[in-house]
């Protein structure tokens, strides 16, 4: 009896919290179906005249179709940085776990020592160094720093260490496989679940990245979505002439998070896997 009462109370609390977490999404979804007048004049949490298709058309035509460029840039940066960072982390993680080479322990200690350096503190000096190398305002200024993923290396080292027995690698060596072959045909397939997690996290980190591209890029044709939408938002609030209207920005925000939410729902297992591997047990 008291358990049932408790269970009702528990569900009420969960219900209220769920409203809190989901309300902004509901608002965004509803707002994206309104034109700018509807946005200002209708009740904000319910539908009025349906203008989603118009909004999408205007969104992709605004400023010469620059939104599509931003979308493509975000996807491009995420894929290149994600795949690159995962490949580099896989090689290094495997080497740290399974190959004996001089300096290995020192290098790994250095990695552990630097894993806590806050990324925000590095943006300014990286910008200054990049500008000396004439790389500022190019795609490389965004992609190259994103290839470094010390936490991914750490995670893969732990995973390889715990889940791939030495005998498995030794057997492949005795069969005559070279070191690289052992890595690609024995170790890599066994690392797959951890690789997916690292790939997912580094792609999302790149898709969400803001500070680095904000500082590195001034050509709006190179902007990722985050920097581009913020630029639109700034001009809309300042009331600049010809600026994107709020309804366009709202629609742009919705289009930007839909792929993430779809990916999130489909790959939940790996998200949670990554969090639990990476945190306290």
């Amino acid at each position: 009896m008291s358990f049932r009462k408790g269970s009702v109370a528990a569900h009420v609390v969960m219900g209220l919290l769920a409203i809190y977490f989901l309300l902004p999404f509901w608002w965004l979804l509803v707002a994206a179906t309104k034109d700018n007048t509807g946005l200002f004049q209708s009740a904000s949490l319910w539908f009025s005249d349906f203008h989603l298709i118009d909004n999408l058309r205007i969104l992709f035509e605004q400023d010469g179709g620059v939104y599509l460029t931003w979308l493509r840039n975000s996807a491009f940066y995420a894929v290149i940085s994600g795949v690159g960072a995962t490949a580099i982390s896989a090689l290094a993680g495997y080497a740290f776990a399974k190959l004996r080479f001089p300096g290995r322990n020192a290098l790994f200690a250095l990695l552990l020592g630097l894993i806590m350096v806050p990324a925000t503190a590095l943006v300014l000096p990286t910008y200054l160094l990049m500008s000396q190398a004439n790389l500022v305002d190019t795609i490389w200024a965004v992609i190259l720093p994103s290839l470094l993923n010390p936490f991914g290396v750490y995670l893969l080292r732990v995973y390889v260490h715990d889940s791939i027995p030495d005998e498995m690698l030794e057997a492949a060596r005795i069969d005559g496989a070279g070191e690289f072959r052992v890595f690609t045909s024995v170790a890599l397939p066994a690392m797959k679940p951890a690789l997916v997690t690292v790939l997912l996290f580094s792609m999302v980190a790149s898709w969400n990245n803001f500070f680095l591209p904000l500082v590195m890029l001034s050509d709006d044709q190179l902007y990722p979505l985050t920097v581009g939408l913020r630029a639109w938002y700034m001009s809309a609030i300042m009331g600049n002439g010809g600026a994107a209207t709020f309804s366009v920005i709202v629609t742009g925000a919705l289009v930007a998070i839909v792929p993430l939410i779809v990916a999130f729902l489909m790959l939940q297992r790996y998200w949670r896997g990554g969090l639990t591997i990476g945190s306290v047990k």
Partner: protein, 310 residues
């Protein structure tokens, strides 16, 4: 062809055990070479985008740029200036207040949510787990933009309350709400994972002794995940010390309330990119980075038995 066939056969006969160690040694050299080759791309990146920028930031933070003499070595003058700068202090005090108020609220929500999904096994609790975690999947920029609209007195759903969410009195709380919304679900999953790792039979014996579910949650489960709780709290505080994106995005809503020196990182950013004070900016970010870095390690060292960084 005959040579190839004879030499391996002949060698052991001639040299016995030393040939065996020879092949072992060559295998070891090969392994070491492969190891270096595999670790090389990562090492290059580590040097280029972590060690080098750190060293460079430290170097330029020791210089001052003057009109007459150009760059002048100035020892720790920039650091002295940063520590004495009332605008830096204001930002530091603000992020500390923010951390002390927002963190317990968010970790509290995360803990309640984690305890609820750990205890309830209904369909709704699985749905809830997802709902709470979704905001984490949204880029911080877009989450902040969304809340910027929700706070609006013309198009937001809370306009009827008449509250000005971006006045200088309320804006810190409004920013705190954005961070809570975005990160509570993440912390919930971390705490939930810790709860799932606890031995279930303890609850069974407590239940037999007549403990209620609430008592089990508060008196048994919560103390047992205390190290995960402390870790989540400290990481959140480290994050709030670096507070940057949310205030920068909401700044145009009320530049008088969200100033150019609102947080230390916003200040460092503006010093560098609005005023070209790179040396001073480097000193501020180096100082902030050092505080976060040292804080994280003292903390990880203190709790190292329980943490993943062994």
């Amino acid at each position: 062809m005959t040579e190839v066939q004879t030499s391996p056969a002949a060698a052991p006969a001639a040299a016995g055990p030393s040939a065996k160690t020879g092949t072992q040694r060559s295998a070891r050299v090969k392994e070491a070479a492969t190891g270096w080759l595999f670790a090389l791309p990562f090492t290059v990146l580590l040097v280029a985008f972590l060690l080098l920028p750190m060293a460079y930031a430290f170097k330029i933070s020791l210089y001052r740029s003057t009109l007459i003499e150009g760059e002048v070595f100035a020892w720790f003058d920039n650091y002295k200036q940063a520590i004495d700068d009332p605008l830096v202090r204001e930002g530091v005090v603000r992020v500390l207040i923010f951390g002390l108020l927002q963190t317990p609220v968010m970790i509290g929500i995360a803990l309640v949510a984690a305890l609820l999904i750990d205890a309830a096994t209904s369909k709704f609790s699985r749905f809830f787990r997802l709902a709470a975690f979704v905001p984490y999947a949204v880029p911080v920029v877009i989450g902040t933009l969304m809340w910027g609209f929700l706070y609006s007195d013309s198009i937001g759903p809370f306009a009827w309350t008449g509250i000005d969410f971006t006045s200088s009195d309320t804006v810190l709380a409004s920013l705190g709400n954005i961070v809570t919304w975005q990160w509570a679900g993440y912390n919930m999953i971390v705490l939930y994972a810790a709860l799932q790792g606890l031995p279930r039979d303890v609850y069974e014996s407590a239940r037999i002794d007549g403990a209620s579910e609430v008592q089990i949650a508060l008196r048994i489960k919560t103390p047992m995940i205390s190290s995960a709780l402390v870790l989540a709290t400290l990481f959140t505080i480290m994050g709030t010390l670096q507070f940057f994106t949310e205030p920068l995005i909401l700044q145009p809503l009320n530049p008088g309330a969200i100033t150019q020196h609102y947080t230390p990182n916003v200040y460092a950013y503006n010093q560098a990119f609005s005023f070209q004070q790179y040396n001073y900016s480097a000193a501020i970010s180096f100082l902030l980075g050092a505080v976060v870095f040292i804080g994280s390690y003292i903390f990880l060292f203190a709790t190292r038995k329980r943490s993943a960084l062994r």
